[in-house]
Amino acid sequence: MRLKLLAGLVLTAGLFQPFPGALADTGQWLQSECGSCHALEQPDYPALGHAERLTRKGPPLYYAGNKFHAGWLESWLQDPVRIRPAGVFPPGAVVPSEEGDVIDPAKLEEHPALDASQAKMAADYLMELRPHDELIAATAYTPGAIASRMGELNFTKFNGCDACHSDGPGYGGLSGPELYTAWQRLQPGFIASFIADPAAWDPHTLMPKTGLNDSAVERLANYLKLIGEQAP
């Protein structure tokens, strides 16, 4: 396994650093290459306080196995297109202007691309990180259908999700991740659980816990399914 890992990484091109032979396993490699931006183990949030959020450079990955679709993750790591228009910490990439606050592209960092073997190793490892199986198990959500107009009203007028998130290219706020691709990226159980109680997943999330009941969560999740299945 170690030889296979090393062989795959020696072929690395681009920004991502080759696997240093002294490191013992994929976890150590990921910690070395990704750990400065991504939490691969659960941080001690109470001890770190909100300063943790001020300095966070990438989304936490220690529950990646509860969150992502494995195939999407492996593919994205090879072609990391931006999901969060203003980056993981919007105030760090936003500047005031005469027209109001705008994103300064120079302040946005690009994610390095991995080659196919690296991406598979990273995704395989990350998908084993499932510390929140109990949150998924507690979710009653079963994917279903919703009428487009009703889904849109729930997303916009009734819940105000569009203040921060886009439900289509060019529509909606810029501070949160785009949501017209959420269904392609995220497991249905995670979507429902995160909408219901985002702070249970990430105590310093910028997503508010709004106290939605199961039916309301289901309607929003089904809307993400609808627009996700229509997304390019």
């Binding site: 909100h50 300063a51 959020r53 001020l54 203003a86 919007p90 105030p91 936003v94 500047v95 005031p96 109001g100 606050d101 705008v102 994103i103 007028k157 009734f158 819940n159 105000g160 569009d162 203040a163 921060c164 886009s166 529509y171 909606g172 706020g173 810029l174 501070s175 109680d197 985002p198 702070a199 105590p203 310093h204 999330t205 910028l206 508010p208 816990k209 709004t210 106290g211």
Partner: protein
């Protein structure tokens, strides 16, 4: 005497100016993290999300507007959301993410923004 004034008086009486500075910094950090996306990095209500919003977020630097709100109203709006004070649903409730102490620190920082920093 409102909550902010009470706290300030208590800290001054206790000789705790470092604690006051720490509290202000905490409020500013929370404001930066949770509020600036809509209320703007300078607090003027022109956040990066505004073009997508049907209601203009409050300008926290507007002394006139802010003076019309009590600390208790600001606290309620932050904790329970805009709907709780008959304002927009676009202002979400933060009570599930932030403690009461955090929200009090935010309110004190908003008071500083509007009325103590030349705004």
């Amino acid at each position: 005497m409102n909550y902010s004034a009470t706290l300030l008086a208590s800290l001054l009486l206790a000789g705790s100016l470092p604690a006051l500075a720490e509290d202000v910094q905490h409020g500013e950090n929370l404001y930066t993290i949770y509020c600036t996306q809509c209320h703007g990095v300078t607090g003027n209500g022109d956040g990066v999300n505004v073009p997508a919003m049907s209601v203009q977020p409050r300008n926290h630097r507007d002394q006139g507007e802010m003076s019309a709100r009590t600390d208790a109203e600001l606290f309620k709006a932050v904790k329970e959301g805009g709907k709780s004070i008959n304002k927009s649903v676009l202002m979400p409730p933060w009570g599930g993410n932030l403690s009461d102490d955090d929200i009090h620190a935010l309110v004190r920082y908003m008071r500083q923004l509007c009325c103590q920093s030349g705004g």
